[in-house]
Homo-oligomer: 198 residues x 2
């Protein structure tokens, strides 16, 4: 039996392909809720899907506020706008936070895989000072020589895995909008899609 | 006494200017929280500042979910990424929702001003069917002839006014990050700024 790609995932792969000449096509905005109940929103980088699933991978720093947010309330909504094709994907779901203290060896392996899949330059930022804290004038800057390329993930490295629950697709060129909702029946996941007004 | 522009506002005006050749430079992502406590995130269009203030204007449809969200919990965070200059502004604050039933005549005037400042084409979308509801096949499409250009705002037209409370500026080219926080002392508003680690 062949694998059928979920309709929204196919649309998203098409958009990634059509916008791949733009560096920022893999950037999207991730909204979370802070422990004090305030909305938070920041740009993050799409690191691909987890193997053949619909789950979206994001690398982040354990010391960033979003980790606090997600440990407190593990739900997020992605807003991903493709500037060349005028398409928007809003993807909400729950997020699994995988840091080095995770008890599941399979998840630790996924984190390690994500670490080695990222460039030496992006690995380097996890060795830098605590993000968001006051910047000290005489902070030593890290250079790539301080990082052994074969060394595994550093403590600050965290993998986020967003498992989509609903996807809202909007095409501003054709003025079409489709809502995709996950349905679970008899332990089988399927997706309903519905054309809605833009 | 001359008016001094708030430092973060000047940075934002500079970014808007440097990225003005890109249609999407006035688009940003607005995160809110739904009445059921879930994060929501969507792209909206920057409609300028309210007169000489720091308040950010957004036009929207009264029938969209964000109105429900904001009526329930009037806080939002903007994430605005400028794709050419690699700058990000995260702007949080509380949001005033101004629809046609507002009791304040000054606010109604602001709503009217926003209506007439928007193009006939964008006014037309407020005459369309309820956004997000199932799309009917034989829906009549609105054409510009159905709208009198001198007529005031239709019922579905809503003005959002976001009053910034904190601004986080990140420059990915220079790797600099600055946090701006509003301070109120003796009924005077001032802004603190601090360099923080990216």
């Amino acid at each position: 039996m062949g694998t059928v790609t979920t309709p929204w995932k196919q649309l998203l792969l098409n958009s990634l392909n059509s916008n791949s000449h733009l560096r920022h096509s893999t950037y999207f905005q991730l909204a979370t809720i802070s422990p004090s109940g305030m909305p938070a929103n920041r740009t993050v980088v799409f690191r691909g899907f987890q193997e053949t699933t619909n789950k979206i991978l994001i690398n982040t720093d354990c010391r960033s506020h979003k980790i606090e947010d997600l440990n407190h309330w593990p739900f997020a909504e992605i807003c991903w706008y493709f500037t060349d094709t005028w398409e928007q994907f809003r993807i909400n779901g729950n997020v699994d936070v995988i840091d080095g203290s995770n008890a599941d060896p399979v998840k630790l392996q996924q984190r390690e895989k994500a670490w080695f899949a990222s460039s030496p330059k992006s690995r380097l930022q996890y060795l830098g000072p605590n993000p968001g804290l006051p910047s000290l004038l005489d902070q030593p800057t890290q250079d790539s020589s301080s990082l052994d390329p074969s060394a595994g993930p550093v403590a600050a490295f965290c993998l986020l895995v967003l498992d989509p629950n609903q996807v809202d697709y909007l095409n501003l060129k054709s003025n079409e909008r489709i809502t995709f909702s996950r349905k679970i029946a008899n332990e089988e996941i399927s997706w309903n899609s519905e054309k809605v007004n833009p």
